[in-house]
């Protein structure tokens, strides 16, 4: 059982909660620098799949490899080390709502870098300027719109310059303009930094912008896999319904 070359490899993942089988043998493969979109109806276990990649959920069976390390077998400190190489954009943003925007970013930086206060402030400004919200620093998450929250959450997710970005529905619930903005940011990360991305999305506009490869989940399995055009032209009724 040697470590795979690809950045992220999931083999035959099984997961049940109680007697509800959520994942029934899902496999995912993402080469370094690629972007994979995970699609499928709601409640099919897409978020559960993504959480396995950073050890938030432990599998019942199967293998999870990230950067050549077996995530489901790492000890706590190795797992935490690996987690610093991964940015995670949660569905609702998951900004710490007792902290302002810059505190949200600084909290992560302060803990995991040896930068001085001045250097941290500089990096934080750079990060929120990059998501084009330079004036949000002093605001609390509750004062931001949905799209702004997502952008700040993205800034937080990449503040440690991770190699991998995991996005859970980055554009769900946003207006079309914000969908574009957030999708463009995710795509730029790949272009500028060569980040490997796995993004769960319902959103075809978003998937079209960011992804070169798609997996369609249904009832705990991958129903189809391929480029977005291949998925789109599939004659499987479930995919046709999805792609409308």
């Amino acid at each position: 059982m040697s470590a795979p070359e690809a950045e992220i490899v999931v083999k035959e993942l099984h997961k049940a909660f109680g007697d509800r089988k959520i994942l029934r043998g899902v496999s995912v493969h993402a080469e370094r620098g690629s972007t994979v979109a995970v699609m499928g109806g709601s409640g099919t276990g897409k978020s559960v799949l993504l959480k396995h990649l950073v050890g938030l959920i432990e599998p019942d069976a199967g293998e999870i490899w990230v950067q050549g390390k077996r995530v489901d077998q790492l000890n706590r400190s190795d797992l935490n080390e690996l987690r610093l190489r991964v940015g995670y954009l949660f569905q609702g943003g998951a900004l710490f709502d007792s902290m302002t925007v810059d505190e949200n970013l600084d909290f992560v930086l302060r803990r995991h870098s040896k930068l001085s206060r001045r250097e941290r402030i500089e990096q934080i400004h750079e990060a929120i300027a990059w998501v084009n919200l330079p004036h949000a620093a002093e605001q609390y998450p509750a004062e931001l719109s949905g799209g702004q929250k997502k952008r700040i959450a993205l800034a937080r997710a990449i503040i440690l310059r991770p190699d991998i970005l995991l996005c859970d529905e980055p554009t769900t619930g946003l207006d079309p303009a914000s969908v574009r903005t957030v999708s463009d940011l995710i795509m730029r990360l790949r272009a500028e930094r060569g980040i490997t991305t796995i993004a769960i999305t319902h959103d075809l506009l978003c998937a079209d912008i960011i992804a070169d490869h798609g997996i369609f989940l249904s009832r705990g399995r991958a129903l189809a896999e391929g480029t977005l055009n291949e998925l789109r032209s599939s004659d499987h009724p479930e995919l046709q319904a999805f792609f409308g």
Binding site: L56, N80, R83, L84, G92, A94, F96, D97, V108, R111
Partner: protein, 253 residues
Amino acid sequence: MRFIAYTLEQVGAIAAFAGTFFGQLFRRPFEGRELIRQMDETGSKSLLLVLITGCSIGIVLSMQSRGTLARFGAEAVLPNMLALSVVKEIGPVITSLVLAGRLGAGIAAELGSMRVTEQIDALEVAALQPFKYLVVTRVLACVVMFPLLTIACDVVALLGGYAESLLSSDLDYRLFVDQAFSSLRLSDVLFSTAKTSVFGFLVSIVGCYSGYYVRGGTREVGQAAMRAVVIGSLLVLVADVLMVRLSLILFGG
């Protein structure tokens, strides 16, 4: 039967949660900054409530006891009785029950909403050790602040009792203080106040446990807060019985 099994299961889960607390307590990083913030919040959120409670207890106790004591011609021991009942029992328990409502529910609701909005997951994947950051700090803050708030409650209750006494007789405050303190032993005062650290531990552990594992949405967060208050209050009362029993063994009646 189902109820008993459920109760035992809950008690086991809370005990395991408390075990995790002790396991994490001495590991780095020590969240000093957050601990201070939590102590400050704990104190400032509940001080006024505790003061009002204490004042009302003192006044009512004084009013109600005077008549009873007078019937036995023992009105003069009112300060002694007031001090004994407030400091040894009523102050600690009422303060802890009030805080079980205020802080237990607050902690459960706060952690619960952090859980359902994935903030706890976000801490976890940023390797920020949410258990240490959220749970250990809150529990320690309660362990420290419960006794301090209890002292505040005791003092205000005695002041309230004295003020009420003044209305019916012009009792010299020095006499009142002398009498009040003559009936208290230092060991009683220390033990009764220190036991509220245990109450603080129980209330906050239950509050954290209820909130930390919430699944679902706002409805479940509300239920967690309610459960934290009920279980927290019950544990305070049960622990009080056990600890009073213990104090009788240790220090005698």
